[in-house]
Symmetry: C2
Subunit: 231 residues, 2 copies
DNA sequence: GACCTACAGTTGACGCTGTCTACTACAGGA
DNA sequence: TCCTGTAGTAGACAGCGTCAACTGTAGGTC
């Protein structure tokens, strides 16, 4: 050990720690490799010996954030009843987002640095998602809709709620949201999700678009919207 | 008209247009006042005569993005049945997010420039939210839970789905999501939301401590061991 | 018409950033 | 002993936001 000769025992690790600290106070756009170097008392080029670019350091930081997030979800109080467990999961999810809003935004709110170029980051992300999927699968309902679709549903709802909370949705919604709405929102929405998962998936929800040939009526607008697969 | 003496007929407006164009291709972090000025053939300081800082131009751009978003939602195909109408709303919502991912991210994914400092921006944002709330209220269900809570629920779900779609959730979730999952996700999730809104709001969802009077199936056992750690 | 002021534009400078290049000093193996 | 790789340094460059000072014109007032 002790390969490095100067002041930093482990510069790559120290860079990640400082980057996380900067992001926690200033947000991701406040992160600069020069500031990291300054805080560590090394030259402005030292971090580049370990991270080829700002993006690479950021990818490492995002991976850590995902890992911490997954650990937080994993450390939630466990319940026997799978729906209660899902409720705990939701509470833990929102709790983390509110406790570390800038880290949360880092994971889900910023254009990730080229996901496929940073497999370690993606591995941590998919682990966090796996926790959620497992909680869904554990519901073990008799109607067997694709559990990954419900995992997406729960994930989307949790994430949306987290972001709206962080954004202080009442401000966004103007005077339309009475005071205290956000406090009630988490249990209300988790209850809604529970109801949604309890009621059986009905065929109608596969939607007019998925239904191939029959009854093409006045939905041509939707079809036009769908044709460009993305963007 | 024609107050300006040089090449730009309406520099403030032209700045917003160029900023939107830059964001649509490079994302919000690619926006620079100097690039805007360069594209307009004016000096790098000209935009500052109309926008005191980058933040102020960004706030104007966000306001336009919200206005365009609201217009898109408003232009959706209308349905008599309020649930069908909500479905159209969801489709329009996701359609916009996928068609203009960087503009969508601009609205919901970036730290907004000091919301309370830019009232015009907030006005556009709350208008978009109002469209959603109206669609919820129009459901006119007999159980009258706070409609704003359900509006938040729908908004959160739509937003979460939009972001997960933009982020290409299958990549995030690793190999766990079979191909084609995202295509099925929108109708599936909208169906789930419909189910959630159809089933009555039960008191149990107000928190873990409260009594759920009528469980659907075999999940009663869990209620007994639920501790009052509402956290 | 002469003058003044406000405004919309200009140029130049400052410190910040990421990143390229070149240099240095040490460790470890041949 | 020499060579090579590694982890650090220093300097330079262009691009960024923003501050300051300057310029030229439109419009109103004497």
């Amino acid at each position: 050990m002790a390969k490095s000769r100067f002041r930093q025992a482990n510069l790559p690790e120290a860079c990640v720690e400082q980057a996380l600290a900067i992001i926690a106070t200033d947000g991701v756009e406040g992160l600069s490799l020069r500031e990291v170097a300054r805080r560590l008392g090394v030259s402005h080029q030292a971090p580049y010996k370990h991270y080829p670019s700002r993006e690479h350091l950021l990818a490492e930081v995002v991976a850590r954030a995902f890992a911490a997030f997954a650990a937080h979800l994993d450390a939630r109080p466990r319940r026997r009843d799978p729906y209660d467990d899902l409720r705990e999961m939701g509470r833990a999810y929102i709790g983390y987002a509110l406790a570390h809003p800038l880290h949360y935004r880092l994971m889900f709110g910023t254009p990730l640095p080229e996901p496929e170029a940073h497999p370690a980051m993606m591995r941590q992300a998919s682990h966090a998602f796996a926790l959620l999927t497992d909680a869904i699968v554990r519901l073990g309902r008799d109607d067997p809709p694709a559990p990954e679709l419900d995992a997406l549903y729960v994930w989307a709802t949790m994430h949306g709620l987290a972001i709206l909370s962080i954004m202080k949705a009442p401000a966004l919604a103007g005077a339309r949201l009475p005071a205290g709405t956000m406090d009630k929102a988490v249990p209300h929405i988790i209850g809604r999700v529970r109801n949604a998962l309890l009621s059986p998936a009905e065929p109608g929800q596969q939607d007019a678009g998925a239904r191939p040939p029959a009854r093409r009526q006045k939905t041509q607008a939707a079809a036009a919207k769908r044709s460009p697969t993305t963007r």
